[in-house]
Symmetry: C2
Subunit: 228 residues, 2 copies
């Protein structure tokens, strides 16, 4: 990749200016790989803020990003985690409803929404790809609602491990990119409850915690049952 990537190590709200746009060929598999800018965002840094202009959206090249909302009283709700090849920050309105941050160091491609929409008008492939990506996010959001609505802390945590493992295609040895706090804010629980659930699973011999972020799934069936 010949593009000049920019880093956002020090800027609180990252600077999006870059010297070179990444004008790749319009191939069939990746119609979206046109007119994007490669950026890097370090762990914990903001990618965009609630209320800012929704004039860009992002695709994950590597790392994990979280999209979330901060409530008036300081509580945080994580809407979604995004992994490689997923897009986020693509909104209907002019202003962003949610903010986004890097869960781990991220490499992203930033697209100008206006730009892409123009391309989509002429190129059916781009248009179709956008629809697929939007629907992928929709399906995820629906999964998330299901997880939040059905009560039971253990069910939520078990469901999360399974879902995350499936998405990362490491179902036996799951690496969690995020902290307990991130998990809790995603599941609508507290860190204590998440921790307790994991400990309980370990006591029951369902999982083993190799490290705090490495979960070995010993009994996938039991975990499925727990997730109800």
């Amino acid at each position: 990749m010949a593009a000049t990537a920019i880093h956002t190590d020090n800027s609180p709200t990252q600077a999006l200016k870059s010297r070179t746009a990444w004008m790749a060929n319009q191939n069939v598999k990746e119609p979206l790989q046109t007119a994007g800018i490669v950026i890097h965002v370090n762990e914990g840094r903001e990618i965009f803020a609630e209320g800012s202009d929704a004039d860009t959206f992002y695709k994950v090249v590597s790392g994990v990003a979280r999209v979330c909302k901060f409530l008036s009283d300081g509580r945080r709700q994580i809407e979604a985690f995004h992994i490689v090849d997923e897009i986020f920050g693509f909104e209907l309105g002019a202003e962003r409803i949610l903010s986004a941050e890097a869960v781990s160091d991220c490499t992203l491609i930033s697209y100008r929404r206006h730009n892409i929409e123009q391309i989509a008008q002429r190129n059916e492939l781009v248009s179709h790809q956008l629809l697929l990506l939007a629907m992928h996010n929709l399906a995820q959001a629906q999964d998330h609602s299901l997880l939040l609505g059905r009560r039971g802390a253990a069910e939520k945590v078990a469901g999360f491990i399974l879902g995350w493992g499936r998405r990362c295609q490491t179902e036996e040895m799951v690496h969690l990119a995020m902290s307990r706090q991130d998990m809790a804010d995603y599941l609508g629980l507290t860190i204590e409850t998440v921790s307790r659930s994991l400990s309980q699973f370990e006591r029951d011999g369902v999982i083993a915690l190799a490290s705090t972020r490495q979960i070995r799934v010993l009994n996938a069936d039991a975990l499925e049952d727990l997730a109800a």
Copy 2:
């Protein structure tokens, strides 16, 4: 409307065969009004079932539909309510993950997915419209997650009333199309808790319950505060 509408009063899974397709002109405002079939579904009846072929999707002409999932132990989670001009049942995979039912008597337009996708390939307007509708559903699903994740029964109920009133554009006198059970299953609560919250709001003079399904909002600001 010259189309022959079909009713589904008695069939448990509604018959989708219809004698006349509704081939409207491809105008700019409603590019999707092509090749759809008008159907009626009575209150409480199923529109489609989880596990069935996802070869059609629907647009609401009148009434309210709910999209939901039944859990193994009988619990039900309502993913979304859909009102006029919204689409639902448009999925990525070949098989449906969720089921749908009529909350009130519904008039719907049924589209063949294969059909629309072919049209979308040639017609940019249809393609764009699909994307907009999908993103509208995504935005709603995100709102829903926010409502479910942030705890507090009162917050949920208050948020629901406000959101529903806004969507139906009747913010002062809100008509609830759905039962308490529907509300509860949407909010991840029990009917008792929903009922108690509403009673409390009434005691506090924030709302007045004209009938069980008619809520007069007396103090919208207070309701906003309750929704946090």
